[in-house]
């Protein structure tokens, strides 16, 4: 363990902890943009500079390992001025076209700009440098005018997804983030997991499906409906509609990770094909024999449908015996629902003919 002083507070942290994390442990927030706890430290944006006794110049706390008896100051007028300067430089390369980005006009960059009382109007670039929506990926919106080259997308793709779609190209003033060999994301073997979007602090990468839908009213944490990993995700809800899916570092199984289906495969929920009314075949209502192909559908109310179902099931049971019925429950449904089906088959029908697609 290493003991050091941050803003006068004595902090004890394990070796190889960064000053930034040590400050966090002490409840001190240091502004950052390029840093994220899930990602390899980068030390690029320089917003997190602190003063360290023995060093002539401010040090980037996100990349500085603690050392014994270090004395750190995280905020003072000189550092505030330095941060303001960094933000002004970043903003001088940042251009907002003014479209509704679904972030409610806020992102991490703008948050800190506001925190340090920067006049956005004056500080922002006066013209765009890149085409907006420059990648055809159906899920990821790319607007490099908002990119501050923090490389969180690059590191997210590498450190979280293990896919290496994004990288930096060129250098100096011409440095930019590109997909693959300057191709489209999909051509660069992007799996559209959206990790890059999840980690982007400026909205340069954004969720295309959610772009003009505004901010969510609330977020509901739930478990993904696709594979057996059981990822936790946040359904962002507005006007009783899911407008976005986000991930959260707190999720026990997956953290910020999600796959393309989990993050973007949610629009089936609102698909017009959804069944919204019980339907029964007309012949059942008419009490006539079943026509070939079972005949036409009739939309009915629940009572009709439920009564009919119950009547047909009990009739079948009573005529052919309990074991003439088969119950297929579902690996997509809740535990509670599957339990009820098991109870239904065994208690109500009296059969063990219950199965689901575990084998398929």
């Amino acid at each position: 363990m290493i003991t050091l002083k941050i803003d006068g507070k004595t902090v004890e942290v394990p070796e190889n902890t960064t000053v930034l994390r040590a400050a966090e442990a002490a409840g001190i927030t240091i502004p950052t943009l390029c840093d994220h706890p899930d990602l390899t430290p980068y030390g690029g944006c320089r917003l997190c500079v602190v003063e360290v006794k023995g060093y002539r110049l401010p040090m980037a706390s996100c990349a500085l390992p603690v050392s014994q008896d270090m004395e750190v100051i995280t905020e003072n007028p000189a550092l505030a001025e330095a941060r303001r300067g960094i933000l002004e430089l970043l903003l001088s390369d940042y251009y907002d076209q003014g479209y509704e980005d679904g972030l409610g006009g806020s992102n991490e960059l703008l948050h800190w700009a506001e925190h340090y009382h920067i006049d956005l109007e004056q500080a922002m670039a006066k013209q765009p440098r890149y085409r907006v929506d420059s990648d055809p990926n159906p899920f990821v919106w790319v607007d490099m005018n908002k990119c501050i080259l923090c490389t969180r997308c690059i590191r997210a793709c590498a450190d979280v997804q293990g896919r290496f779609v994004w990288s930096l190209a060129a250098r100096g003033a011409h440095t930019q983030v590109v997909a693959g060999a300057g191709t489209t994301m999909l051509d660069a073997r992007c799996e559209s997991c959206g990790a890059c979007v999840a980690y982007c602090p400026t909205g340069a990468l954004n969720n295309k499906m959610s772009l003009h839908l505004g901010a969510a009213d609330r977020k509901v944490t739930t478990t993904c409906t696709y594979c057996g990993v059981g990822c936790q995700l946040e359904l962002n809800v507005k006007d009783d509609k899911v407008i976005r899916v986000t991930s959260n570092s707190d999720a026990a199984v997956n953290g910020m990770r999600l796959c393309v289906k989990g993050r973007y495969g949610y629009d089936f929920i609102h698909h017009p094909d959804r069944l919204t009314q019980p339907q029964v075949r007309k012949y059942l209502l008419d009490g006539t024999p079943r026509p070939p192909g079972r005949g036409e559908w009739v939309t009915v109310d629940w009572d009709t449908a439920l009564d009919l179902t119950a009547a047909k099931l009990s009739a079948c049971r009573d005529i052919y015996g309990s074991n003439s019925l088969g119950i297929l429950c579902s690996a997509k449904c809740l535990n509670e629902e599957n339990y009820l089906f098991n109870k239904f088959a065994r208690q109500v029908i009296g059969t063990n003919n219950i199965d689901h697609c575990a084998r398929l």
């Binding site: 293990g162 290496f164 930096l168 190209a169 060129a170 997909a179 693959g180 060999a181 300057g182 660069a188």
Partner: protein, 165 residues
């Protein structure tokens, strides 16, 4: 060059370069330099071929075209754009600048009818600026292909350029 720019050509080139330099990470830039030398630039197809040979995690990364592209666009001796038959390198650093480089640069652009980074339509010349080549004692310096010319003046240029077909 055309024989090389077939898919098989790229494959063969990638194989040879890997054979020579290996697949460890420190071989990446030497491999790219080799390709650049072979083609005068680095075709994206060649990156794909190289990548195929490197497809095992290298340290904390899996080498994809993107990383190779990133390297190729970072290092100035590597080009991602096709170049002309002759590459004219002009040193634009301060030492050459104060000894008359500006005039030479003007003259070069005029005589080749090219701006920085351009290739002539007939594919003969590419004009490229470079930072210091370490021959400041004889600046201004122009390099054409492998030949370095020191103490260049606008007046000397036509004779120098005429040496190239």
């Amino acid at each position: 060059m055309s024989a090389h720019t077939t898919d098989n050509g790229y494959k063969e080139m990638a194989r040879l370069a890997i054979e020579k330099h290996g697949t460890s990470p420190d071989a990446l830039i030497p491999i790219l330099l080799e390709v650049n030398q072979e083609y005068g630039y680095i075709p994206v197809k060649a990156l794909t071929e190289i990548k195929k040979h490197l497809n095992a995690p290298v340290g904390d990364r899996l080498i994809q075209e993107g990383h190779l592209f990133s390297l190729a666009s970072f290092y100035h001796m590597l080009s991602l754009k096709a170049r002309g038959r002759h590459i004219v390198l002009f040193c634009e650093s301060a030492p050459c600048h104060v000894t008359g480089g500006r005039a030479v640069w003007q003259a070069l652009q005029e005589q080749l009818s090219l701006s920085a980074g351009e290739t002539s339509p007939d594919g003969k010349w590419s004009l490229v600026t470079t930072s210091c080549l370490g021959a400041c004692g004889v600046g201004p310096v122009v390099v054409i292909d492998e030949d370095m010319y020191g103490n260049v003046t606008p007046e000397r240029l036509p004779e120098i350029l005429s040496r190239y077909e």
